[in-house]
Symmetry: C2
Subunit: 369 residues, 2 copies
């Protein structure tokens, strides 16, 4: 089997494992930095390796529009194109169509929309999403799904029905999971019955992995955690569980405790470009005056190039002066911070002390201690 | 002596040497990438080392305004602040005051101007420029000079007189060259008698190095070369000669042949941020359609990380998508290109074949062959 999840250790609902893929092994739980346009923003691939990234995400919607998935296939696929030889995951384009494009029509066949780049008209269907993702050639690919407001029950019910039908068509369009593993996406917002309907349907299709979609898009954190509590037991134990679009440090540990294996999020790199840094004491805004003459690193506990080399005073100067180096250094730091957090989480599970780690991390990060 | 130029080999007017400084030896002729705001734009210091930079420049005007030279002194000086442990050169602020700021008044004492950042009022004098540069702590510092249009003889004559008086005041204000070497700047535009007047005055002050200022700012290339032809013999043989603000690949080799030892220019990094790459076949615009599916590196002859790793097709995509990684990779490539060019020039002089190197380089680069 090209793809399989080897579970090494469990502690309560959390588990440490290795997800084997054709481009290498992914220690789980894992955080995947997002490389929307075939680059994790501001981070060269050799630096991604250095900070310990094992899985990265790229966006089907963006790459389909520019430079084009046919071109990327012609150039040898996404790994070759962006010179990342580790595992890659592509989303299906479903979320971007709903969040970025101007939608003209949704019907049972697919979605017609206008590009956010130039207004040109495009259509995505379950079949075309799979074809595009096959052209891109990522290791893990996703079913084309319909996203919607997580608390709008009526829209969600329709979206779940459609997402199920589309999942079956994606499964049919992508019959061979040996080179690319197709994951199903459970929808249903914060409603247990809708999540059950979605999960039951997808389990029948026997995907090599299952994602929980439609969270972190408007519901409260408590609602998100409650949704994870009832949704994860609906998924098979022996397959990876991927919580899409979630990357707040507190959410990572709390979702791992509920049984999640895979995460992705743009937050660490986006925060960096806005001059914010993740630290064990919470987010800090590097523009703030107290850092002007601060000779400490951004995060005194951190082993990344940024923190091992530069002072907060210098970072503040770079951010205020709008220098690219500031975005580069903070991106490296923030992604490293989350990867290091995941390493610590894996170690805590292996040592049967995840609750202790979570308590002490959250007390300090959320300043509740 | 902390600073001295050891001349290793000459070929006609060109020479290979080593300029010794407290922060290390600089093989000459040398090209210094520009780090205006205490960062060579988009290039981390460890990458600067990797591509072979030995000397970098920073701007007194910019750093005085933001984050402030007193703060940088408090933080241990520019080397410590930006974590560059090699030699640094700061300009005097003279050029920036004339090119960026809104000048309120120039008088014999100095220049009153408004900041390009916030319109706040500032004054630079020979004494304050030296004090600022002493706060910054670069290895090589420059006299405060008056710049002007290189072909406007009347203005130039006044500027030369004032630059001479200001050079004497800078010499007086900075009496100790053991930690920071103060270079004089010859002005006079394209006029031999004005250059002679300027050079004669500066030689009397016995500076540890001499710059040729006021070129590459409006005159033709032929006028620039002619000016170098008559100005360089006016300067001492045993001191480094620095041609300010010049960095076109053709100018570098043609100026070395006329006896220049040091260059700086923002061109390689600025071009990179605009999506242009330097190659032995001239500048190329990475946005151009023919590169869309081009699997070759930006420059097939190049050994930098960009060219050893990525295709033109990927670089074109990054540039068109406005990705920071594109600016980073092209900045590294373009600076490496010029540093490699200088290495080749030094080797050619050592092998007594500089004319051959220049001929073959220029024929290909300027496409005149």
């Amino acid at each position: 089997m090209s793809f399989y999840l080897e579970i090494v250790k469990t502690q309560a609902k959390a588990r440490v494992g290795v997800f084997h893929t054709p481009h290498g092994d992914i220690p789980t739980p894992v955080f995947a930095p997002v490389g929307t346009q075939a680059t994790v923003k501001a981070i060269p691939p050799r630096d991604l390796k250095e900070i310990g990234a094992t899985l990265i995400l790229a966006n089907t919607y963006h790459l389909h529009l520019r430079p084009g998935d046919e071109l990327i296939r012609e150039l040898g696929g996404l790994h070759e194109f962006m010179r990342w030889d580790g595992p890659i995951l592509t989303d299906s384009g479903g979320f971007q169509v709903f969040s970025l494009a101007e939608i003209n029509r949704i019907d049972d066949q697919g979605v017609t929309f206008r590009s956010h780049l130039d207004g040109s008209k495009h259509r995505l269907t379950p079949e075309s999403s799979i074809r595009i993702q096959e052209n891109l050639g990522a290791d893990i690919i996703m079913c084309f799904d319909q996203c919607s407001n997580p608390t709008d029950r009526d829209t969600l019910a329709t979206a779940v029905t459609r997402t199920s039908a589309w999942a079956a068509r994606c499964r049919e369009a992508h019959s061979d999971d040996s080179r690319q593993a197709l994951f199903g996406i459970v929808q249903g917002g914060i409603y247990e019955d809708l999540r059950a309907e979605s999960a039951d349907f997808l389990r029948e299709l026997d995907f090599p992995g299952y994602a929980i979609g439609g969270l972190a898009v408007g519901e409260t954190k408590a609602e998100m955690y409650a949704t994870l509590d009832f949704t994860i037991p609906m998924l098979p134990d022996d397959k990876p569980r991927y919580l899409m679009g979630v990357g707040d440090p507190d959410d990572l540990v709390l979702a791992v405790m509920r049984g999640v294996d895979i995460f992705d999020c743009v937050t660490p790199t986006r925060l960096a470009r806005h001059g914010a840094a993740l630290t064990k004491d919470g987010r800090i805004n590097m523009r703030n005056l107290p850092y002007a003459a601060d000779k400490n690193p951004v995060d005194p506990d951190c082993t990344c190039y940024c923190c091992q080399t530069f002072t907060r005073a210098y970072l503040r100067h770079l951010v205020k002066a709008g220098e690219i180096l500031g975005a580069y250094l903070l991106s490296i730091h923030n992604v490293h911070f989350l990867l290091d957090h995941m390493r610590a989480i894996r170690e805590a599970i292996l040592a049967d002390r995840l609750s202790d780690y979570a308590d002490s991390f959250l007390r300090r990060y959320l300043k509740t201690g």
